[in-house]
């Protein structure tokens, strides 16, 4: 009997990947949904098993084809990848579970098996990027996840989804190709593609010009993929017009995987070897982060479409993550990684609630939900919980990351106080834009002509509430994400000179 334990890092990727071609053989759309959901939950189970192993201090490395690294391709799972895997697989599982009811509106039955096949490929691609320890392998899986997510977004029923997805395709391909140029230049100077090996070998050539240029290309390429301000142009359209279930999945994890790679590359490969890189990193990212936070929140204040409103809020939240990282301190990185987790929870819950009301209210404009809370109390109370978590109310997950972020900023004296002010102001803006939704739903009158909407379908509603309750659970008991984030930030800083 084969012991599958050591093979878990590989199975995390190949299980959803190999399930994808099997699913199109299932002609019935409901069967395809069941199969995809089960596969997704299985990969969630694998992620949980890996996380438990990591928490027990186990090291996971995997040599593909048994060829020794750096010649063959290596996979690695550490605390940082474990928390990412948890986010990706749980987001995919919950979103799929809720997708049954909302997708029937957007996508014809005969196209659904293809859709679920693409969904599993996104999942496999994101997991593949997370566990890869080889620079070129990351590119391959980045392309799988990108191509598959273009398919998912193009499933939106509004025709504006198509130009949005075309724009995303162009920007995404530019980003991936910039990354490829960067990898090429590093390979040219070091002769290796394995990340750990690269860290060793880059040392000899560290301040040569091709390496500096490579650092620039890789950073810009990944920043494009991560929708870092001002390269965020593709994100609002893609999130707004994608099918609602897809927005739940992608908003919770896809840009974060690019941010994860950005941090990994920077701290594992560049920080230890390029002199003064930490200062450049701070000066480059901090202004962008602050601008992202302020501009993202400002635009969200005036947005009429709820999905677009939340998409701009995501741009601001990406800013928080970068702000923590740009402090280049243990507390800052911990805050940033905790926020990976908590933002996924809050946005996941919010977008799930949005997909509930989109089914019943016939649209996602703020006017569509006027007075809807009276007949849909459960949906809107879940939305309020998600909103409070996004604002950072004590008792919710969002509070934990804001708390860590502010304490990390205050370590830095004068500039820290300014940053704290920025965080507080943008939290206030979040209060305003969440309030706009609450006000419309609870306090405005519904136009008489339209019938009052019913409560959302039970399955979708219970998934939404699961996500909302997770926000409260991890607000009260944040040990798991905080422990993982602390060891992840230690891992990253270990490599600093």
């Amino acid at each position: 009997m084969t012991d599958w334990g050591p093979h878990l890092p590989a199975l995390q990727v190949i299980l959803p990947m190999l399930a994808a071609p099997l699913i199109i053989a299932l002609q019935r759309h409901r069967l395809a949904w069941v199969a995809a959901t089960i596969t997704s939950f299985c990969s969630f189970a694998i992620a949980v098993a890996l996380t438990r192993g990591v928490l027990d201090g186990q090291q996971y490395g995997y040599l593909m084809g048994s060829w020794p690294a750096p010649y063959g391709i290596e996979l690695q799972v550490d605390a940082f990848s474990a928390i990412m895997l948890l986010i990706i697989t749980s987001a995919s599982s919950l979103a799929l579970l809720g997708a049954r009811d909302s997708l029937d509106v957007d996508i014809e039955n005969h196209r659904q098996p293809l859709f679920y096949s693409a969904w599993l490929l996104v999942l496999a691609g994101l997991c593949g990027m997370t566990v890869a320890a080889d620079a070129f392998n990351i590119f391959v899986f980045m392309e799988i996840s990108s191509l598959a997510s273009y398919i998912l977004i193009s499933g939106g029923s509004d025709r504006r989804a198509l130009p949005a997805v075309f724009n995303y395709l162009i920007m995404g391909t530019l980003g991936a190709t910039f990354y490829l140029i960067g990898i090429g230049l590093i390979y040219l100077m070091t002769g290796t593609l394995n990340l750990a090996d690269m860290e060793q070998r880059i040392h000899e050539v560290s301040d040569l010009k091709p390496i500096l240029v490579a650092a620039g290309f890789i950073t810009i390429g990944l920043a494009l993929k991560a929708a870092v301000f001002p390269l965020h142009g593709w994100l609002p359209g893609a999130y707004t017009f994608a099918p609602h279930a897809v927005t739940v999945f992608l908003a919770a994890c896809s840009t974060k995987v690019a941010l994860y790679l950005l941090l990994r590359f920077d701290f594992f490969v560049f920080q230890p070897n390029l002199s003064g890189h930490d200062i450049q990193f701070t000066y480059f990212l901090m202004p962008l982060a602050v601008l992202a936070i302020i501009i993202g929140s400002l635009v969200a204040l005036f947005e009429q479409n709820l999905k677009r409103l939340l998409a701009y809020s995501s741009i601001a939240q990406i800013g928080y993550i970068l702000l923590g990282a740009s402090l280049v301190s243990s507390a800052g990185l911990t805050a940033s990684i905790v926020h990976f987790f908590n933002h996924a929870l809050a946005k996941g819950a919010l977008f799930l609630a949005i997909s509930c009301l989109a089914i019943r209210c016939g649209g996602t404009l703020i006017n569509d939900i006027n007075g809807a809370a009276r007949t849909m109390p459960w949906t809107f109370s879940a939305l309020v919980v998600g909103g409070l978590s996004l604002i950072g109310m004590p008792g919710t997950a969002g509070f934990i990351s804001k708390w860590y972020l502010i304490s990390a900023a205050l370590e830095h004296g004068g500039i820290g106080i300014a940053l704290t002010a920025v965080i507080l102001v943008s939290s206030l803006m979040a209060v305003v834009y969440i309030w706009r939704i609450v006000e419309a739903a609870y306090f405005r009158e519904r136009e008489i002509a339209t019938a009052a909407p019913q409560e959302a379908p039970l399955l979708l509603l219970s998934v939404t509430w699961t996500a909302a309750l997770l926000n409260i659970y991890f607000g009260l008991m944040p040990e798991l994400p905080v422990t993982l984030s602390m060891s992840a930030s230690e891992l990253l800083l270990e490599h600093m000179p």
């Binding site: 084809g65 196209r111 002769g191």
Partner: protein, 329 residues
């Protein structure tokens, strides 16, 4: 002499690229893109990359041109609007190029055998191909075994593109057979009434397919492998569809078989990998498949290359048929 030829080819490439961007006639731009691919393929050949040259010629100049032309038939042949944000574009391009020129300083000399790129990992591949795998073509050895996991990912990229196009075109509006198109020609009839293309084509097609099979199974010994073979076989069948009509082509290779090829090839690759685990090795470890590790490696590479060939053929034909069956508004 070869230097002169190289410089000549590279200059031609630049001129072609400028012409492609300048022309507002999209048909011309697509044909020039095919020319561009052939030029770059020749250049790859001069740089000792025979496998890459073969792939670029088959995929870039062949399949990609056919797909662009089918897309043009469904859209417009003329570019209407003028360029926008010219200055933004020029600024971005100027900055990028300055940075790239900055990177040229400190770069190792072209072709220098002692450059770091040829030192670390590459010699290991060159040595171990004969000692561990025992096939002459190192590119196939690296592609199929040493970095087989990348190739698996790549097969899934192709598969993703296939289901993507099917998903996009799955909604509404697919031409019913026999309905006339804008050009007045019924593509399901093909060029059946044109004698010369038919006769020449009939002579060519068996050789193209035979060549494809040769490239598929000779990939361990010479330039070739699943990707190239898949593209060549697909090109042969597309030629058949153009001559005899799509209906006839679908009768020879029905849609179900194409779907089977598309999904089956990717699965075959994955299953070979899983057998590695079951036999006590790691994923994609072919050495454990047979008593003699070298035989295992060779059989493993043969099987996964077959998987690659199947998926590539299936996906390319599926995409071609999907485009061809789309009705013009």
């Amino acid at each position: 002499m070869i230097e002169l030829f190289g410089i000549f080819l590279l200059s031609l490439m630049v001129i072609t690229a400028i012409a492609i961007v300048q022309t507002r006639h999209l048909f011309a731009a697509v044909i020039l893109t095919g020319v561009f691919s052939l030029l770059i393929a020749t250049n790859f050949f001069l740089l000792d990359a025979a496998d890459v040259a073969l792939t670029e010629a088959a995929i870039g100049a062949g399949i990609s041109t056919v797909l662009f032309l089918s897309a043009l038939a469904l859209t417009d042949e003329h570019e209407r609007s003028s360029s926008a944000n010219k200055y933004v574009a020029l600024a971005v391009v100027a900055v990028t190029s300055l940075i790239l020129i900055y990177a040229t300083f400190d770069k190792p000399r072209f072709g220098d055998p002692s450059a770091p790129v040829h030192q670390h990992v590459a010699p290991w591949f060159i040595e171990n191909t004969s000692s561990q795998i025992g096939i002459p073509n190192m590119v196939t050895a690296v592609l199929g075994s040493f970095r087989g996991y990348d190739t698996l990912g790549e097969v899934f990229v192709v598969y993703t593109a296939g289901i993507g196009v099917l998903f996009l075109f799955g909604s509404r509006r697919t031409r019913q057979n026999g309905e006339p198109t804008k050009s007045g020609l019924d593509p399901s009839e093909g060029l059946r009434h044109y004698l010369i293309p038919r006769i020449v084509g009939r002579l060519l097609i068996p050789f193209i397919i035979l060549f494809g099979l040769y490239v598929q199974f000779h990939g361990e010994y010479g330039p070739g492998g699943g990707f190239q073979a898949g593209a060549i076989i697909a090109a042969g069948i597309i030629l058949y569809a153009l001559l005899e009509g799509e209906k006839q082509a679908l009768r020879v290779l029905p849609d179900r078989i194409l779907t089977g090829l598309m999904a089956g090839g990717a699965l075959l690759f994955g299953v070979v990998g899983i057998f590695g685990i079951l036999a006590g090795g790691n994923f994609l470890d072919y050495s454990v498949l047979f008593d003699n590790p070298m035989t295992g490696q060779q059989i493993g590479i043969l099987l996964i290359e077959a998987g690659v060939g199947m998926t590539v053929t299936g996906v390319l034909l599926k995409i071609f048929h999907a485009f061809a069956a789309r009705e013009h508004i």
